[in-house]
């Protein structure tokens, strides 16, 4: 059930109604029922994967906790002290670690099998061909269970947090199931932490009109981004991406920027809808974006884009890797070759590149995404190395503190992000590299006017809508920089509030790309 469907809106309306009609103590159960129904709508058999994750994580976290509590009891009963206590604790931690490893193995194993089997087969086939082998392995035709990439991350985050003793394990498996399957976030995030989400997820929320309105406002803005902008620019993205031979030169730039706009509208719009849905039930989902295109560097961009995911990778991949014994050993080895100072950076380099590798492959099972991730990682490390140079430059030249220079930095970051995204945009990394060449050397602006623009698949009116949407995003971003735009609108007069929200509603209703579209030719009777 897609967010942008009549079915979803009807489903949501029914569940909001049932949620507030039932007594408070049943409300989280309504959310669970809704989430399971939503999940079942994507295919009955896929729920098995979700249940395996839930049951395994629930059982293993309780097991880890039992080891911890039983050990504590034993230490108390036997009056252990000093070295004995330390050794016993280490033994307990080791046992807990085995349980953790089992949890990681089961859940990462499921994700790896269902998401990456075809990628593995493709690579094996390439190697077979390379070595002159004939024939190849056939691909499997498994559909990916809904939200598996997201709920697996949430489940592993929860498992690791319980292992590290950040909070207690949940004793009710159904509550854990709700945390993993909460329907507004299961499709595309944000990736929530259990301790944060549970504060509002299981709370007995009373009906609060203003909160409901705010939820609807947030959803409306999400629908605008998704239906009016992302889905409108989609034909351009598809046309340029799928016809690199015909649409080269200046169209590479058009496709690149169109893809950035589509991704922004689609993803941030989807998250707005998810957060708005959460607000309808009084559940606060974490923010996932903080005006990403106001970033002046790639590092800042990644602190503002898909924040919950980046935080997850930072917390559960980067930091543990950077501080791991293996990386430490490599650092020590590096000291012999590069000296102590240079080698001290090695853990960060290694952890960073591995984290970006996983970030890339998490986004998609293809080399496009792996390369996209690695290029991001390399640029970030290079920027970090060049930071002293930047600082010197900024000190030496006064203009680097002017608004114009800051706008230039923002634009530069936007172009950099868009350019790197070409690796995921074009069908293969090689095509992307070839199109970089086109972008750099074959502009040929005249092609915009030779009729080939018709291949982009949008009308002048569509282009006008897109053209007007960008300044609107900038305006909203500028207000958001100072305060929540909804609070800003709330302070305006009733008439202005009405005009803003009704205008946005009309924009979605009329300009939104949904339904079957209208083609006059279809109405001409021609059943000859």
């Amino acid at each position: 059930m897609a967010f942008v469907s009549y079915e979803f809106l009807a489903f949501l309306a029914v569940f909001v109604l049932v949620y507030y009609v039932l007594p408070g103590r049943f409300r989280w159960m309504v959310l669970l029922a809704g989430s399971l129904l939503f999940y079942l709508a994507s295919g009955i058999r896929y729920i098995v994967f979700l249940l395996i994750t839930c049951v395994s994580i629930f059982g293993l976290t309780l097991w880890m906790e039992r080891i911890h509590l039983a050990g504590k009891e034993e230490m108390k009963n036997q009056g252990m002290k000093g070295e004995e206590k330390k050794a016993f604790r280490a033994k307990l931690k080791k046992r807990q670690k085995h349980v953790l490893q089992l949890g990681l193995f089961v859940n990462l194993g499921i994700l790896a099998v269902v998401k990456y089997t075809n990628f593995a087969i493709w690579n094996v086939n390439q190697w077979l061909h390379f070595f002159g082998g004939e024939g190849e392995f056939g691909f499997v035709s498994w559909a990916l269970p809904l939200g598996i990439s997201y709920y697996t991350l949430q489940a592993l985050g929860y498992l690791l947090d319980v292992y590290h003793g950040k909070y207690e394990a949940e004793k009710n498996p159904f509550r854990l199931l709700l945390f993993l399957s909460f329907f507004p976030q299961v499709v595309q995030g944000p990736v929530s932490r259990f301790d944060k989400l549970k504060e509002t997820l299981f709370e007995e929320h009373a009906w609060f009109g203003q909160r409901i309105c705010r939820g609807m406002e947030r959803m409306l803005w999400g629908f605008f981004k998704k239906l009016v902008v992302a889905d409108r620019v989609a034909p351009v993205v598809m046309a340029v991406g799928q016809n690199p031979e015909e649409l080269g030169g200046i169209y590479v730039l058009a496709g690149m920027l169109a893809y950035t706009l589509q991704l922004y509208g689609d993803f941030t719009g989807g998250i707005d809808i998810a957060i708005g849905c959460g607000e309808l039930f009084g559940v606060e989902l974490p923010e996932n974006f903080d005006r990403p295109f106001s970033a002046e560097s790639l590092a800042e961009y990644w602190r503002r884009w898909h924040m919950s995911l980046m935080q997850w990778f930072r917390e559960y991949v980067f930091y543990p890797l950077a501080g791991s014994k293996s990386v430490s050993r490599i650092r020590k080895l590096g000291e012999r070759f590069f000296g102590k100072k240079a080698a001290s950076r090695l853990p960060m380099y290694i952890a960073s590149l591995i984290t970006w590798f996983f970030t890339g492959i998490w986004h998609g099972a293809s080399w496009n995404f792996v390369i996209w991730g690695m290029v991001n990682g390399v640029i970030l490390l290079a920027s970090q190395e060049a930071a002293p140079l930047y600082r010197r430059f900024h000190k030496a030249y006064a203009f680097s503190n002017t608004p114009v220079y800051h706008r230039f930095m923002t634009l530069r970051t936007l172009m950099m992000v868009s350019a790197v995204q070409m690796f995921e945009y074009y069908a293969s990394p090689l095509t992307a590299i070839r199109m970089f060449g086109d972008l750099a050397f074959v502009w040929d602006i005249g092609r915009l006017f030779d009729g080939s623009a018709a291949l982009l698949g949008i009308t002048l009116a569509d282009f006008a809508v897109l053209f007007l949407s960008v300044p609107l995003f900038c305006l909203v971003g500028a207000i958001q920089a100072k305060e929540d735009i909804r609070l800003w609108v709330e302070r305006k007069s009733g008439l202005v509030r009405f005009l803003v929200w009704f205008g946005l509603f009309l924009a979605v209703l009329i300009l939104g790309v949904y339904g079957q579209g209208y083609d006059k030719q279809n109405f001409i009777y021609n059943q000859f």
């Binding site: 009308t459 009329i510 300009l511 339904g515 006059k520 279809n522 009777y525």
Partner: protein, 350 residues
């Protein structure tokens, strides 16, 4: 109090804007495509009809109600549209019975072969014009295609929202009031495109009419029997080879079994006097005005003879109403013929 007035004011504004936009964006069917207006025009009728004609394009393009009136004094109305399914014909009959009870219903059997709709636009043109009733609701529920939503019939704005890019002068000209474009459901075409023959019909895997078609024909028959209406089955003349013997046999048997009059005009083309080098506007598939008048004359004679439909030409009220209809009919005919003389084609339909 002030707050209440403001809220009511805003709610009214929302409703007015949405209704206004919906009216603007819905197709008006006043230009090249006029068939979508036919079903709705029925509700503007002020006098009853003795004959209700139901079916697909082969009724609304092939029978002239004006000729039926002028020659036999039969009052008739065609409730037909493109690819109209038997289920839709049944619900249109049900809908019509809310307003009047005709003496006879003529159902065109060509659509019996259709299992479901193949183009959403045809469903729209058939059902959008119906007034809201349980008949319309059921018609939509039972014939809508997979990608269609009831919600989009209730709020057509959801269906036609993207027409903002294709608004034409007609959308503003006919914003408040639309013209009558049919002649009691008849689609007038005076142009001629002689028949040049069609390729032979392809063999089909099965020649059995789908269960849904039989179901609705049975329901039509039962409803007519209950209301004392004569149900007549008819197959229109055409050069297009779409009526194999197997179809014919099934309908013949059904008519015999239920004691219904079945008129297969395919076999009576000579008797009707059809000349497919002059009486068709699209190469022998459908009839033009001259062919439709010939077919009406043939059908009228048989219906009066075999069903006993009365001649109303001496009734003053009907005479007045039909005089107006005939005036409009001849005015349109003259307009089309004049255009054909000067341009060689009908601009409206190009």
């Amino acid at each position: 109090m002030k707050q209440k007035i403001r809220t009511i004011g805003l709610a009214l504004t929302v409703i007015v804007v949405l209704v206004g936009l919906q009216r603007l964006l819905q197709p008006k069917y006043m230009g090249q495509v006029i068939e979508g207006a036919f079903i709705g025009e029925y509700y503007k009728e002020t006098t009853p009809h003795d004959l209700l004609i139901l079916g697909d394009c082969e009724v609304y393009e092939n029978i002239s109600p004006v000729a039926l009136w002028e020659e036999f004094g039969i009052t008739s109305y065609i409730r037909g549209s493109a690819n109209q399914l038997p289920a839709q014909s049944y619900y249109l009959l049900e809908d019509t019975l809310r307003y009047e009870t005709p003496r006879a219903v003529l159902f065109h059997v060509a659509a019996m072969k259709m299992e479901g709709q193949d183009r959403e636009a045809y469903n729209r043109m058939t059902m959008e014009g119906m007034k809201w009733s349980s008949s319309k609701w059921n018609a939509i529920c039972e014939t809508k295609m997979e990608e269609e939503y009831m919600l989009e019939y209730i709020f057509p704005l959801l269906r036609y929202h993207s027409r903002w890019q294709e608004l034409e002068a007609d959308d503003f000209t006919y914003y408040w009031k639309r013209d009558i474009v049919s002649h009691n459901g008849y689609y007038m075409r005076c142009d001629v495109k002689p028949a040049e023959g069609f390729p032979a019909a392809r063999r089909q895997a099965s020649y059995h009419f789908p269960d849904s078609s039989w179901e609705y024909l049975n329901r039509m028959e039962a409803l007519c029997r209950e209301k004392g209406i004569d149900l007549i089955l008819m197959k229109s003349p055409s050069q297009y080879p779409a009526w194999p013997e197997e179809y014919e046999a099934q309908i013949e048997e059904y008519a015999k079994e239920h004691n219904l009059l079945y008129i297969n005009c395919l076999e009576k083309q000579e008797e009707i006097g059809l000349d497919f080098s002059k009486d068709t506007y699209n190469g022998g598939l459908h009839l033009n005005l001259y062919g439709a008048e010939k077919l009406a004359r043939y059908l009228g004679g048989r219906l009066q003879e075999e069903i006993g439909l009365p001649d109303h030409r001496r009734e003053e009220e009907l005479q007045r109403v039909w005089e107006q209809k005939c005036g409009f009919y001849y005015e349109q005919q003259e307009k089309q013929e004049e255009e054909l003389r000067t341009c060689g084609f009908l601009k409206q339909f190009q």
